[in-house]
Amino acid sequence: MILECKDLTKTYHGFPALSDISLQIDEGHIIGLLGPNGSGKTTLIKLIAGLLSPSSGTISIEGNPVGPASKSLISYLPDHFYLDGHRKVKDIIGFFHDFYRDFEPLRAYDMLGKLNIDPNQKLKTFSKGTKEKVHLILAMSRRAKLYLLDEPIAGVDPAARDYILQTILSNYDENASILISTHLISDIENILDQVVFLHKGRIHTHACVDELRQETHKSIDDLFREVFKC
């Protein structure tokens, strides 16, 4: 089991961002973490990544509690830029290679090359869309056990979205799992095989995508709209 959350709760000054989250994720899945804004998706991801500490409950990644061991197994892509723009891309690659044993620089250079991104340039010289792609490439160049992608396709043009989804698919590893949080469901639902619906900090549904489609005769996008109708 790659990820196990038991009765995970996170409260901010009495406000429960997440309540009693119990979740198990096995190897080889691409899972969509879906929910409206404020449902706790980013909070859950940050808890797993080790950027927040739970108010109660446990998290274990391949049996490890959150710490340096779990962080070496997790490749995390936040929903905003987090790399120093003043650094050159190749220096950032060197940095990742230094700290993460499972980082594969050749893969990164290969993906950058296909997009004609010059690794000798500083990150800040690139357009927003290109920066997004660089961030994604770095995250996907690791042979991690768990990939946490927080809104990887929001704020990006449709062609770039396709590229991002293709990259996620082409780097798929049956020994790893990918957890993608998003609210752009129709773009992404075909690459998911499981979904978790998060509503007001609680898990509403955790199911296989095709089973849901069979039961409800709806797309996940339609189902989402129905469940989270305002």
């Binding site: 000054h13 080790g50 950027l51 927040l52 710490g67």
Partner: protein
Amino acid sequence: MLRKLLKYEWRATCKVMVIMDSALILLTLAGCCILHTDIFNHTDAVPMAVLMVTLYALSLTALGIATLFYLYFRFYRNLFTQEGYLMHTLPVTPLQLLHSKLIVGYIWTLLNASLIMVSILCLAFVAGYHFAVTHGMDGIWDRMIKELALESPAAENGINAFYKIFGYTPLEFFRQLIWLQLIGSFVSLLTGYVSILLGQLIEKYKLMASVGFYIALYIINQIFCSILMLVPGLQILVQDTGNFLYSYYRDMMGYAILSQFLVGIVFYIAAVFLMRRRVNLD
């Protein structure tokens, strides 16, 4: 892992610090050159001289403060803004992150403090040498060596006079000054780091809160130091030795060092505790 963090921390801080240090070295060289000329021999030049000395002193102070504040800012920016998302998801412990910043920061702080001292010494030396040379003082070297070399208080020279008043030799004074600088630099660095960590505990306006904490910690440090320094003063009241100033000055530095040492320990423990708490990044 710590070594890797140290490597990158060093690389990142090098550029700015080298620029600052180079500026100081240039300033010192310029000062040496100016002092070696006869500009200040006229009485009209006195205000000018005073101005230049003042500017020089201000520059040194500015450099010292700039070093510290740059290091504080780097700590904040690298760990508690966007980059924090990178640093806190690296496979390292929070302590390793703290230590990497402390070690590299300390090295730079000490280096800059040393450079400042060397700069002052250089200029003082050049000024004195120039004065001695232009006023035809022969054997100035020998005299200086004679005055400074002998540690034994029994000798008849400036050192002995110093000892009679203060209770220790200039060399001992220097030694204690260096200890004070070593520990003081560490505490200054830590004060900034702890303030930033404390600021992170507050919901909003974290930076402003950090500034507030910094002032508070600084004041607390001063108060504690003053309290501790009362001890030698009280000792004098209790005991009835003839030369009370003697023992006071002798112990003063020691107590200053002790107070800073204790403050340093407390601040370090606080820093470790706060770093482990797991931050809530924006």
